[in-house]
């Protein structure tokens, strides 16, 4: 087969240059800078820095607050990812079966997609509010004295609920379109081959959805780790002390509220390594089990 190519070597480089320079300036350069400053102790007022070697890292590992955040991040990410994926899949499977009023139903489910994370946080705040939140009153009926921003568990609960709610529509849209791209006749063949609806789902439907699910898994982990910043910021704003926070939020709190730029950089570097490891794991371990049609 004839390969299409450029006649000069410079044209492709020239065409790639805008994209490459954006990546270099906004991703690699700050990342390199973060790595560098993680080995220094910065003067809070910007008057200089002292090389401290690995000290920023060792103090992280000795900080119980940091370890607690790390622990919370793992739990939070797992919960948000698993819940938002499984609930969205359930809703998509059900919505796929709806015949009457399917469009209205789907539109309603997708609506939340348009809500920005901080706004979602504010809506969460209103729902869970201490004085006039309807959900707080609702929990009270069951004897649950819900205290947002005061009780660690209650705050974490609200964060998970709002984060899952915000992410559901994205997953829903992808799962629904994934379901609808499965040929009708393949499902009908399964209908004749297997009398059990759950058997058909796990043997035929789910494997054919796997490429979508894998894509969403990556998107959702990234979301839970990073994009929930806006929601967490709105929920814990002003009083981060005893409240749960994710590692990403802690980078911001320690770096820009606490002015510990070196320590905050060290945290960023830890996060970078974590994400790198996670991505490698996902592609090596999970993706090879997926059949792409």
């Amino acid at each position: 087969m004839k390969r299409a190519g450029f006649s000069t070597r410079w044209l492709p480089i020239l065409l790639l240059l805008p994209q490459l320079s954006i990546i270099l300036i906004f991703f690699y350069w700050p990342a390199a800078h973060a790595v560098k400053s993680s080995f220094y102790l910065q003067d809070p007022f910007g008057f200089g820095e002292t090389f401290v070697g690995m000290k920023n890292y060792t103090s992280l590992l000795n900080s119980s607050a940091y370890l607690r955040s790390a622990q919370f991040t793992v739990v939070f990410t797992l919960l948000v990812t698993i819940l938002s994926l499984s609930l969205a899949l359930l809703l998509a499977v059900k919505a796929d079966k709806v015949i009457k009023g399917a469009k209205a139903y789907r539109t309603l489910l997708m609506w939340v997609y348009a809500v920005a994370p901080p706004v979602a946080g504010v809506i969460g705040l209103v729902l869970f509010d201490q004085t006039w939140g309807p959900l707080k009153d609702f929990f009270g009926l069951f004897g649950w004295d819900f205290r947002l921003g005061v009780n660690y568990f209650d705050t974490a609960f609200a964060m998970v609920v709002v984060s899952v709610w915000k992410q559901l529509p994205v997953n829903f849209i992808f799962f629904l379109s994934g379901l609808q791209s499965i040929p009708k006749s393949v499902r009908e063949a399964a209908l004749i081959d297997n009398r059990s609806a759950s058997g058909r789902f796990w043997d035929v439907t789910f494997p054919l959805l796997a490429p979508t699910a894998f894509f969403l898994l990556i998107i959702n982990i990234t979301y839970a780790l990073f994009d929930t910043f806006g929601i967490i910021d709105t929920v814990v704003k002003g009083e981060p002390s005893n409240n749960p926070m994710t590692l990403v939020y802690r980078v911001y709190v320690d770096g820009f509220r606490g002015n510990d730029l070196g320590g905050s950089s060290a945290q960023s570097v830890v996060l970078m390594v974590l994400v790198l490891a996670l991505t490698v794991f996902q592609f090596r371990m999970v993706e090879r089990r997926i059949h792409y049609t």
Binding site: P183, S185, V186, E188, A189, A190, L191, I192, D193, N194, R195, S196, G199, D203, V204, P207, L208, A210, H291, T293
Partner: protein, 345 residues
């Protein structure tokens, strides 16, 4: 093997469209029945009702000695071959063929043996560990067949299984399917819009049009004694010539010439197959040949007879040229239809 009986089976969609008008017929044990008709005639809907993929609006469906109206497709003891094969893309050929058995709680070694046997029968041995995407169209169609035969169902259903294949492969698979069905002796219902498939494969043909059954009969009955002008023009390529004729004094006249003896009076539609009109220098009728289609084994002559266009089919060794031609009509091959209703008289 099972007998299948449809008792006034009817399908009306929620939007009020009556896809299948009440239809009744019985398919005998081991019989190969072909449902044929133009697209939208309700043949696929009929098949899907038998399969259980479509709800039955009214009427009873018997497979064997059970009424299966409310039985799930998986419990009807049927196997279906779909137009686009409907293979599970993520499973190997082996798993595709064995999937239906696996869900019927059959021991693994029995499944393996049955899959091997089916693969042997269909020449798929070398492909058992491939995925469908690595197979050609004909091979995929065989896998779909394998999935059907491995289960030993009492009824095979085919939904236009060959229409995605190229012409050559279609002819080959047509014979393979027919031979396989003969060998296994499984009752089969086969849907197609291709009248050649219907003629060559069927024990009995059911011709459908507009949700209604036009005729049920053997290929020869349907071809030689069509029950309506629709069947006459749908079956056969080229189709039966349909001519406006007059009945006078116990004779049928075309263009003022007597063609045959027939009772009654008034207009009648005369049907004559293109191969039943023969060139003959002493022929009683003169037609005007306007166009000749060369098909190798035979030729189709397009002609005008008494102001009406007709086609005649002649063998390759009959010299043909455009212009006037004298012909005879084989007398006992004619069909007569009511010009209003189109039904056979």
């Amino acid at each position: 093997m099972a007998q299948v009986t449809l008792n006034a089976l009817r399908k009306v969609y929620p939007n009020g469209f009556e896809a299948v008008k009440p239809a009744s017929f019985t398919i005998e044990k081991g019989e190969f029945v072909v449902l044929v008709g133009p697209s939208g005639c309700g043949k696929s809907t009929m098949l899907r009702m038998i399969a259980g993929l479509e709800d039955i609006t009214e009427g009873d469906l018997h497979i064997g000695d059970r009424v299966v109206n409310a039985v799930d497709p998986a419990d009807r003891d049927i196997a279906m071959v779909f137009q686009n094969y409907a293979l599970y893309p993520h499973m190997t050929v082996r798993k595709n063929i064995g999937y239906g058995l696996k869900n019927r709680k059959i021991a693994k070694d029995v499944i393996n043996q049955k899959v091997e046997d089916a693969a042997n029968l269909l020449n798929l041995n070398d492909y058992l560990d491939r995925k469908p995407s690595q197979l050609s169209g004909g091979q995929r169609q065989r896998v779909a067949m394998g999935r059907a035969i491995v289960r030993d169902p009492s009824l095979f259903l085919f939904d236009e299984p060959l229409s995605n294949l190229d012409a050559k492969l279609r002819n080959q698979m047509r014979i393979e399917i027919k031979a396989l069905q003969r060998r296994l002796g499984v009752t089969s219902v086969y849907v197609t819009h291709d009248q050649v498939e219907a003629m060559t494969m069927a024990d009995r043909i059911i011709v459908m049009n507009g949700g209604e059954i036009e005729q049920i009969g053997t290929p020869s009955e349907v071809y030689h004694s069509p029950a309506s002008t629709f069947v006459a023009s749908f079956m056969g390529a080229p189709p039966m010539n349909l001519l406006d004729a007059m009945r006078e004094n116990g004779a049928v006249m075309v263009g003022g010439q007597k063609v045959a003896e027939f009772d009654g009076s008034g207009l009648v539609t005369l049907g004559v197959r293109p191969e039943d009109i023969l060139p003959d220098t002493n022929g009683a009728f003169e037609i005007d040949v306007t166009l000749i289609e060369e098909l190798g084994a035979h030729r189709i002559l397009h002609a005008v007879w008494a102001g009406q266009s007709i086609m005649i089919s002649v063998a390759k060794d009959v010299a043909a040229e455009t212009g006037p031609l004298r012909v005879v009509i084989k007398p006992d091959t004619l069909s007569y239809f009511d010009p209003q209703t189109g039904r056979r008289l």
